[in-house]
């Protein structure tokens, strides 16, 4: 139990919680939730620079010593995503990318075809690709075959807080995965994060559940503890589910009273 390293593409991370910085009302809250969560990697989005844009986000992330994982959020096509990844690499000096290619703004669900296309292109260009995908075990398999270093299936739509709608699919993905499976999107609260780990995920990536909670720092602490709890429970070997009861007190030695 003591030795349970979490490694992506040869890099070991001290925390199995990856934090999205989106949705936080202020940079101070970003700073607080990073500290409270103990995360070692945070996602950022790439957007047009505006006069107002201070570089403070990067400052905060660097001061906290967390790895920066740029995403391609908002991209609808493989080309947009690839170019956004190239710009992120240039701006942030990292070839790691959380690849997102969504089909529309209402569901923000991944577009399987464009996603796979972008993944293949980016891997060919030497990127270290962590794709945000749906919970289809077959697409997860293809993304691994394309050379992605992790697969990040959703539990439910981004920001919905609906938790893990189809645990069976997550189990199927985990069962055959040769890279870390990271539950990405849909987490609403601590028990969802614990369940993700119990299903065999190597880590959890979440943003809204923490940044939009009434008390972000407290929720950051909560989900961090839940990820630890779920991982330990997975390794500890839970009791089987039984249709009937099983006494936890001795059935013999009862007094006659």
């Amino acid at each position: 139990m003591s030795d349970d390293p979490f490694v992506i593409a040869g890099v070991e991370f001290p925390s199995r919680l990856i934090l999205g910085t989106g949705g936080a009302p202020s940079m101070r809250v970003v700073d607080e939730v990073i500290a409270a969560s103990g995360t070692a990697m945070c996602t950022v989005a790439m957007r047009r620079i505006s006069p107002g844009t201070s570089g403070s986000l990067i400052d905060v992330l660097e001061r906290r010593g967390v790895r920066i994982l740029p995403n391609t959020a908002g991209c609808r096509t493989a080309q947009e995503a690839v170019r956004t990844a190239e710009l992120a690499r240039e701006a942030l000096s990292t070839d790691w990318v959380k690849l997102e290619v969504v089909a529309d703004e209402r569901t923000l669900l991944p577009d399987a075809v464009e996603l796979l296309d972008a993944a293949e292109t980016l891997v060919a260009q030497g990127f270290t690709v962590l794709p945000y995908t749906n919970d289809d075990p077959v697409l997860a398999r293809r993304l691994q075959q394309a050379g992605c270093v992790a697969v990040m299936p959703l539990g439910s739509p981004i920001g919905s807080g609906l938790g893990i709608l189809n645990p069976h699919n997550i189990e199927l993905i985990v069962a055959e995965a040769r890279v870390p499976v990271i539950l990405d999107a849909g987490i609403g609260t601590a028990s969802d994060a614990a369940l993700a780990m119990e299903l065999g995920c190597a880590a959890v990536l979440l943003a809204s559940s923490v940044t939009r909670a009434q008390h972000p720092a407290a929720m950051a602490t909560a989900v961090a503890a839940a990820v630890t709890a779920g991982r330990l429970a997975r390794l500890a070997g839970r009791i089987p589910k039984r249709h009937h009861a099983q006494a936890s007190s001795p059935t013999e030695g009862m007094a006659v009273l």
Binding site: R47, L57, I58, L87, A88, E90, L92
Partner: protein
Amino acid sequence: MKLTVNGAPRELDDATTLARLLDDQPARGVAAAVDGEVVPRAEWAGFRLAEGQAVEVLTAVQGG
């Protein structure tokens, strides 16, 4: 000459370089693309912009 910078029209002297256009940008965390092609920072100084080009200048912001 007329260009588009981050979606807005801009009037620039002919043969302005990308470095010139972006000299007020922070030293780090920023990347630029001209007509969709990324231009590494090292090449900004020598990159002459031309009429009608579209320049995109991006940086990292909070994201999920």
